[in-house]
């Protein structure tokens, strides 16, 4: 970005801050004059920065340093870009003059509109990054936050700066950014886990705690797995709000597409739509999604099917059949695994059976996905193929034990021969 271009835009901004960049002749003239003037100068530090960095107080120094580190400063958008004022004026009164467009610390409810002034203008933003989205503001207006801001003037609701920060705003793909995928849950939790902050608003504050123990939370927070969903992955970022029941399945299907496909083709689909149940959530939860287990099909502690299906009903019988099918595959895999492990500890080469077992395990994963067809007949092909593979692994493991037994026989024979020779030698010695 040529400096001249940048600075000229800012000058126009400074002069006509609260109105859109109009092209009245006066401003055009000013633009030419100041643009030419600016081109003569080299990069000059703004007086806002030079004063507030050193001469005001420590808090301001920190803010200025953050700003200089952030993406706006690096692209040439200075303090005047948000606060207005004159960054070339030497005296504070001139720099922070209302006539120069100075707005000071903006009131909270005005912030989204202020940011949108640039960020919602595709013509302006494409000068910085041709691919940057410019729909954040319109999305924000339909979000839970936006609605509360515009309709209820809620003074505590999140605005742009609540998540992105004020002065040291970093790009979202910068790992230090508060809106970097790994940092998002903590950013949202700043408000949403603070029950004091959220009093009077009809919303729970345990979501982060539940999420942190969920499969997704552990993957993201403990293993830095960026493929795991964050709050924004399911709720949206600028358009964040509670998902509608019919939208939940599509949200999960962003990653768990196959399971959803199976679900939609199953008898549950019609039933859930009729009752307006949110598909995945009913069985798996929303924030506290824990690791699935086969016991979810049928058990006192974890069973989800019995939440709706009565004892002896067709549904519960299907659940039992599916569980039985999967349990038999698991049992076969465990048996084969035991034999192969035994062979391995005896020093036999167990690569082939281990490979087979891996394939059998893949079938188990597939079978578990097929549960979402809610039909034991559809689960059966995967489990039966898996059982076949596990049986083969088992027989290969047996082969290892056969090898071991061959060694044992050889050992016994060789010890017998050695001892026999020793006995004969003893007799020979005595005969000397």
């Amino acid at each position: 970005m040529p400096a001249r271009f940048n600075k000229s835009y800012l000058l126009i901004d400074r002069i006509g801050f609260n109105c859109m960049r109009s092209s009245s002749p006066f401003y055009v003239l000013l633009f030419i004059i100041f643009g030419l003037a600016n081109s003569a100068k080299t990069q000059q530090q703004s007086t806002c920065v030079s004063c507030h960095l050193e001469e005001v107080d420590e808090d301001h120094t920190k803010l200025v340093e953050e700003h200089l580190n952030g993406v706006h400063a690096k692209r040439g958008v200075g303090c005047e870009g948000c606060h207005g004022g004159d960054p070339t004026a030497e005296e504070a009164e001139d720099a922070m003059d209302e006539k120069a467009g100075y707005t000071g610390k903006l009131a909270r409810h005005l912030i989204p509109a202020m940011c949108a002034h640039c960020h919602a203008d595709p013509n302006y933003m494409r000068g910085f990054n041709p691919n940057i989205p410019t729909d954040q503001y319109s999305k924000y207006l339909i979000s839970g936050h936006g609605k509360r801001l515009t309709k209820k003037r809620d003074p505590k609701v999140a605005v742009c700066t609540s998540c992105h920060g004020t002065h040291g705003i970093l790009a979202p793909n910068d790992p230090s950014s508060s809106v970097y995928s790994l940092n998002i849950p903590n950013t949202c939790a700043k408000c949403h886990s603070d029950s004091t902050y959220m009093t009077g608003r009809n919303i729970p504050t345990n979501q982060f705690a539940l999420y942190a123990h969920s499969v997704h939370g552990e993957a993201l927070l403990n293993r830095d797995d960026r493929a795991a969903p964050t709050c924004t992955g399911c709720h949206g970022s600028h358009e964040a709000r509670r998902p509608e029941p019919s939208g939940v399945a599509n949200t999960c299907a962003q990653c768990h597409n196959y399971n959803r496909e199976l679900f939609v083709a199953s008898p549950h689909n019609a039933a859930f739509e009729k009752n307006n149940y949110s598909e995945c959530e009913v069985c798996h939860g929303n924030h506290a999604i824990t690791k699935t287990s086969d016991d979810m099909l049928l058990s006192d502690s974890e069973g989800v099917c019995q939440k709706c299906h009565d004892e002896g009903s067709k549904g519960l019988l299907t659940a039992a059949a599916m569980k039985a099918s999967i349990d038999s595959l698991k049992m076969m895999i465990n048996t084969a695994n035991g034999v192969v492990e035994l062979g391995r500890t005896y020093g036999m080469s167990s690569e082939e059976p281990e490979y087979q077992l891996r394939q059998a395990h893949n079938k188990l994963v597939q079978a578990r996905a097929l549960i979402h067809t809610f039909s034991a007949e559809k689960v059966a092909p995967a489990t039966s193929e898996g059982i076949k593979l596990a049986i083969e692994a088992n027989s290969q493991g047996q082969e290892l034990m056969n090898q071991y037994n061959f060694r044992r026989r050889g050992f016994i024979l060789s010890v017998i021969v050695i001892l026999l020779l020793s006995v004969l030698l003893t007799v020979k010695i005595r005969s000397l």
Binding site: T345, Y346, G347, M348, S349, R407, R408, F411, S414, V415, I418, L419, L421, S422, L425, T426, K428, I429, L432
Partner: protein, 352 residues
């Protein structure tokens, strides 16, 4: 047949060798069974060389290949597991036999003149075998090997003055790496074996020259002996057969495990210690307090070991009473004391 025999006998020193052997006699007395031990050491060394050469055919001494090649030997080579287990167990049995041989000759005062050099070459061989055990232990490059070597070479750093330099020389750097592996391999395969063969050759020649020593306590009784060839030799072979049987049983019931491949970045496994034949030194060093006067405790310990080692080396010249063929109870007590200490410390080290 006779012509070939004649041909060989007139050109090669066969007759001279056989003459010496035919004259060789082994004393027969209460303590005679201990005469087997030298032969057992020799036999186990031969087993080590044979199995070692066989392992060498498939082993690869680089950091990324070592573990894999040992795995290959254990799983894909016919009887590779057997050769490897025999090599490992034979090493352990050899150390036991060496300890017993050392202390039995010490207690029987076999070092007294004219056998001083036999004793000293024996001590040197003992140290060489300790080195062979230490270097060989690293070669499978599994977790146990890696960390035991790390700990073991750390102790070397406790030698005063040159400790750090010595450690880096052994390791080929500051840490145990592939460079350590290759130099330990070179040491294990030919540097130490060559030294061992040279010293062993001298040791055996000296044994033939001076004959078997008769302990002083038996000198009052009527002297009995038996010819080495064939009487003692056949008994020796018999004992070797029994040792082979024990090796086979151990190799089968307690096969050497492959372990996990070495992971230098992982934390040191809890309770890692060097091989059992180093445990007594390890344990003894642990006993020394961190500081004695203004010296570091470990330095004192190492110096102590050095001094004791040198004294043992020079014992033929220190034991004046035995030199005059008199009873020397002081040295007998010292010998038993050393045995008790080593056995006690080793057991303690194992249980720790």
């Amino acid at each position: 047949m006779m012509a070939i025999k004649e041909f060989l006998i007139s050109r090669l020193p066969v007759k001279e060798a056989l003459d010496i052997l035919k004259k060789k006699e082994v004393p027969v007395h209460r303590l005679s069974p201990f005469y087997y031990l030298g032969g057992i050491c020799l036999y186990l060394l031969i087993v080590q060389i044979v199995t070692g050469v066989l392992l060498l055919i498939y082993y690869s001494p680089s950091e990324d290949q070592a573990y894999q090649s040992v795995k290959f030997i254990m799983t894909k080579v016919s009887f590779g597991w057997l050769i490897r287990s025999i090599h490992a167990w034979s090493a352990n049995m050899l150390m036991v036999a060496l300890f017993i041989h050392l202390f039995s000759t010490f207690l029987m005062k076999a070092y007294r003149p004219p056998r001083e050099f036999t004793w000293m070459t024996g001590i040197l061989m003992f140290l060489t075998c300790l080195g062979l055990g230490f270097t060989g232990y690293l070669l499978p490059w599994n977790q146990l090997a890696y960390f035991a070597t790390k700990v073991g070479t750390e102790i070397v750093a406790a030698v005063p003055l040159m400790g750090e330099a010595l450690k880096e020389f052994l390791r080929g750097g500051t840490n145990v790496t592939g460079v350590t592996l290759t130099r330990f391999f070179a040491l294990h395969i030919w540097i130490l074996p060559l030294m061992l063969f040279a010293i062993a050759g001298l040791h055996l020649i000296l044994v033939q020259k001076h004959g078997m020593s008769r302990p002083h306590c038996e000198s009052s009784k009527p002297k009995q002996s038996m010819p080495f060839f064939p009487h003692f030799l056949l008994r020796d072979l018999n004992v070797w057969l029994l040792v082979l049987a024990i090796l086979t049983i151990l190799s089968f019931y307690f096969p050497t495990h492959l372990g996990e491949p070495a992971d230098p970045l992982s934390p040191t496994p809890i309770g890692i210690k060097p091989e059992w034949y180093f445990l007594f030194t390890f344990q003894l060093l642990k006993l020394f307090p961190a500081h004695i006067l203004w010296f570091e405790g470990e330095h004192i310990g190492i110096i102590g070991f050095g001094i004791v080692g040198i004294l043992i080396f020079l014992v033929p010249f220190l034991d004046k009473k035995s030199a005059k063929d008199e009873r020397s109870p002081a040295f007998t007590i010292i010998g038993w004391f050393m045995i008790a200490t080593i056995v006690g410390l080793t057991i303690w080290g194992v249980l720790d």
